[in-house]
């Protein structure tokens, strides 16, 4: 029987997991310090457990999880690469971790230097002029980027531009960000080859007067390089718009191509994807945003500058969009990223992209006999299959994903991008060995065979996990969002 307790169910009056030193100042009754009307008279509604309870409980919970350290995690567009351990150690160095953000500048020179150097490295990798490290995640980077685009148009008195073009293959965050930034997202269709349809783009642009910009992921969510990018950039720029690069898939092009050289004006990187920092079960990540020279004046403040040997925080940006986040960003995530960039260097980063692309195309070559491949071409770091091959198969992509759990793999991203039916989006990343890829391909082939001969195995999968297909409809219809005892 798997462990099935909630921490609240371990609580027993009188247990303690914590002890403070005795109070060493005058022990005045709190009612004499703070008026009673502000004070909580009731007991706190928190559990009472021992330290042993805490450790056993969360260790048991961790055993119900699957991480990159557990095994292969080919989630498309999520870049679940291995998280190097030295990065964790570096982020916990005393001088980094026990540092208050508002300490005087002479006390934080090491952190400022790290941010300064990281910005330079990221700018070089992206082909951009300056970069803010403030955004907390990819979506936050997108929002910051669109704020910058908005500020650019506003400064020019160009107030008619209220639309952002987004391809139909885009991540959900792109249209959501455009709407949040006060724009109307307009969809542009993809061709049957899976890339932006330039003719359709021209139609969407029209006379161009209301186009603020275009958001594009390149390689896109199908794993395809947008080969018409130069033409796309020209069309958008001619219309007076700006180009936004969603860096979710930057792992494919490190050291091989740069968004800045493709014509992008604004770029974000997902530090937790491309630069190996852990996903942490959903965060925290970081989403630095780079811009070309003509947009530097709008960056959020502060920026880190250098004067001789001294580093300082520069707030002197009169046209800044303002602050987008508390303090200076997710510093300890940035330490991990810099540790990774130093480790890999110019040669290693290029090798990352090359191996990521090699792994993806190799894995594809092993799967296309059994799985439908809607677009048969050269891919970058990921590829998208359209479910199982064959007619009248009962098994869906969801069934394949659930069956993969029995084989000990994390399933790929499923049912995304929306333009491919029964999509299975597979991104192996560069950190996986050929043996792992072969084992995964073998499992996928066996599952395809099971779909043909014993589909019940798929339909009822997973069989070996601690829970099996939890009822999501019930959860949404009758929400239980906290423990009620």
């Amino acid at each position: 029987m798997a462990y099935d307790k909630l921490i609240f169910e371990l609580s027993k009056e009188g247990k303690k997991a914590y002890r403070l030193p005795p109070l060493d100042v005058d022990d005045i009754d709190v009612e004499e310090l703070i008026p009673e009307e502000y004070l909580n008279k009731e007991e706190l509604d928190l559990p009472e457990v021992s330290e042993v309870d805490v450790i056993r409980h969360y260790t048991n919970l961790s055993n119900k999880n699957y991480g990159v350290d557990t095994g292969f995690y080919p989630l498309g567009s999520c870049t679940m690469k291995y998280n190097p351990k030295i990065n964790e150690d570096m982020s916990r160095l005393e001088g980094f971790v026990n540092l208050h953000p508002l300490q005087g500048e002479d006390c934080i020179q090491g952190s400022l230097q790290l941010m300064y150097e990281l910005e330079k490295a990221l700018c070089e990798i992206a082909g951009m002029d300056r970069m803010t490290l403030q955004p907390a995640a990819g979506a936050h980077g997108e929002l910051t980027g669109l704020m910058i685009i908005k500020a650019y148009h506003e400064k020019r008195g160009d107030s008619k531009r209220n639309k952002i073009i987004v391809p139909d293959s885009a991540h959900g965050t792109n249209p959501a960000t455009a709407a949040m930034a006060g724009y109307k997202p307009i969809e542009v269709k993809s061709t049957d080859k899976g890339i932006v349809d330039v003719e359709s783009l021209k139609e969407v642009i029209g006379d161009g007067e209301d186009i603020a910009g275009l958001m594009l992921t390149n390689p896109n969510t199908l794993g395809l390089f947008e080969k018409d990018i130069v033409e796309i950039a020209r069309l958008i720029h001619d219309a007076g718009g700006l180009l936004y690069y969603d860096g979710a898939n930057a792992n494919a092009i490190l050291g091989r191509a740069r968004p800045g050289d493709m014509g992008f004006d604004v770029v974000h990187f997902n530090i937790h994807k491309t630069f190996s920092t852990p996903h942490g079960g959903g965060g925290p990540g970081a989403g630095p945003v780079g811009v070309k020279e003509h947009l530097v004046e709008f960056l959020p403040t502060p920026m880190v500058e250098k004067d001789g040997d001294r580093y300082y925080l520069d707030y002197d940006y009169p046209n800044t969009i303002g602050k987008v986040k508390d303090f200076y960003g997710h510093f300890s995530i940035l330490v991990r990223a810099y540790s990774y960039i130093l480790t890999m260097g110019r040669d290693g980063l290029k090798k990352v992209a090359e191996t990521a692309v090699l792994n993806a195309n190799y894995l594809l070559s092993q799967l296309k006999d059994d799985y439908y491949l809607p677009i048969d071409t050269l891919y970058k770091h990921e590829f998208v299959l359209g479910g199982l091959k064959g007619d009248n198969l009962e098994a869906t992509t969801l069934d394949v994903a659930k069956r993969l759990l029995d084989y000990g793999f994390h399933p790929p991203t499923v049912y995304f991008p929306l333009i491919i039916r029964e999509a299975l989006m597979i991104e192996p990343t560069e950190t996986e060995s050929k043996q792992t890829l072969d084992e995964f391909a073998k499992a996928m082939k066996e599952i395809a065979e099971e779909a043909r001969t014993n589909v019940k195995l798929l339909k009822e999968a997973p069989h070996n996990t601690i829970v099996r297909r939890p009822d999501e409809v019930k959860a949404a219809r009758n929400p239980v969002l906290k423990y009620e005892g």
Binding site: V54, G172, A179, T343
Partner: protein, 447 residues
């Protein structure tokens, strides 16, 4: 070979053959010639672990770590004690190397701790629903304002000038893109001027935002502010609170708050030069289907076993795209685990004890530092763990002197409030000792 790349040169040849290509270069032939990078990146060459460690240690050592300093600085980030268990649990790689729990069968660990976190936040704040976190306290205020404006379909947001200045700057940045009008209420003797607030609330008011304890550490009258806010039609009352203060202060849910947000850094998350921290958001049930970010719900699996899933996803960007409530995707994941472990480790009595000791030590420090009359309290109002002192000496001079004595001094209020020139905001947590406070006092007396 590189330690994190597992393909050998022999593998590479075999794999290229399987693909039907002759070289790695051919894998990149779809990138148009004109945008290929035909040079090496201008970065240093790859390095060994030993070299990277030595260099980053050198940078870290250029900072003044709080291990060598005594910290009386707060202003939104606090030097509370973090029990050892927290780091041990968040260092389990099954937690930190996992992704967002989209596959519930192999993510019950993450899903359950988020469910526990939501429960703890609701219990602490006195609210009915909590999301699974936002980036930080500042953006949580902005997201709450956007949500309130969307719910009420109104544009005016009233915020007190006693809310942390940086949070107000973030709100202004966010407000601009949604065309919200931000109206700031003045302060009187360090707290929100409720008479002024009364005169500002009307039927166009989407939200009223008050922080308590406020930026100066003073306890605001949330109950009265809520009553005033609710004079508006469908006006949300948003309270931003320090979760540690809820060890002793009344829960905002009982005082009339509709939405409660705050910075959770104090709950087991290190200062780390400003991030990553933890934004939390809890609300009344009415807001359940409008909350930004992820939410975990309890359900049953095929065999009727209790299990947990991400739920109410129709609110979120990956389903609703341009109609989503917010664009947030990655959130603070692992930091919610830190906060969860912190809260259950402290438990019913521990959190109260941390809050009580912080308060009692802060009052002791206030008394001690003002004894001679050289430094005077800026306000005479009840506070939690921070208080402001004013004197004839410039804060820069004071903090420089303290720095020489290995003390991180307080926050110079004149930076944000010109009317409080020469005022410094000190923070005292349970970690400070009587000896440290006495030493601070004697150095201040000597300036």
């Amino acid at each position: 070979m590189y330690p994190y790349i597992s393909i050998t040169p022999e593998d590479e040849q075999e794999m290229l053959k399987a693909i039907g290509l002759a070289s790695v270069d051919e894998l990149f032939e779809d990138i148009p010639e004109e945008v290929r990078l035909n040079r090496d990146l201008d970065l240093e060459e790859s390095k060994s672990e030993l070299e990277v460690r030595a260099y980053l240690r050198e940078l870290a050592n250029k900072n003044c770590s709080l291990d060598q300093m005594t910290c009386f600085l707060g202003s939104g980030a606090y030097d509370h004690y973090i029990p050892s268990v927290v780091n041990h649990i968040i260092s389990r790689s099954e937690f930190y190397t996992s992704y967002t729990p989209y596959q519930p069968e192999i993510s019950q660990g993450t899903l359950q701790y988020i469910f526990e976190y939501q429960t703890l936040i609701c219990n602490l704040t006195g609210m009915e629903v909590s999301n699974a976190s936002l980036y930080d306290g500042g953006t949580a205020i902005a997201e709450a304002a956007l949500m309130a404006a969307a719910v009420a379909r109104k544009k005016d947001v009233i915020i007190s000038k006693s809310v942390r200045p940086e949070a107000r700057r973030i709100l202004k940045t966010y407000a601009h893109i949604q065309d919200l009008n931000i109206i700031e209420v003045d302060i009187a003797e360090g707290v929100t001027d409720l008479e002024k607030l009364k005169s500002l609330v009307n039927d166009d008011t989407a939200a009223v935002i008050i922080q308590s304890p406020n930026f100066f550490g003073l306890i605001e009258d949330l109950e009265e502010a809520a009553k005033i806010a609710h004079k508006g039609r469908r006006t949300s009352f948003i309270a931003s609170v320090d979760p540690i203060s809820l060890g002793i202060l009344k829960r905002p849910g009982e005082l009339g708050a509709d939405i409660v947000v705050g910075e959770g850094q104090g709950m087991g998350i290190p200062l780390s030069f400003g991030g990553p921290y933890l934004g939390f958001m809890a609300a009344n049930k009415d807001y359940m289907r409008k909350l930004p970010g992820r939410i975990v719900g309890q359900t049953e699996d095929m065999e009727g076993k209790r299990s947990f899933v991400l739920t109410l996803t129709a609110r979120e960007q990956h389903i609703r795209r341009e109609k989503a409530t917010s664009n947030i995707c990655s959130n603070q994941g692992l930091n919610t685990l830190a906060a969860t472990v912190y809260l259950v480790t402290l438990g019913k009595e521990g959190l109260r004890e941390v809050a009580l000791q912080s308060t009692k030590k802060a009052y002791y420090a206030m008394k001690k530092l003002t004894e001679s009359g050289k430094y005077k309290p800026l306000f005479n109002k009840p506070f939690f763990k921070e208080f402001a002192l004013t004197s004839d000496i410039e804060p820069e001079v004071i903090n420089k002197k303290l720095r020489d004595e290995n003390i991180i001094g307080g926050y110079d209020l004149g930076q944000d409030y010109p009317q409080y020139k020469n005022a410094i905001l000190y923070a005292v947590t349970e970690k400070r000792t009587k000896a440290e406070i006495d030493r601070l006092s004697s150095i201040l007396e000597g300036i």
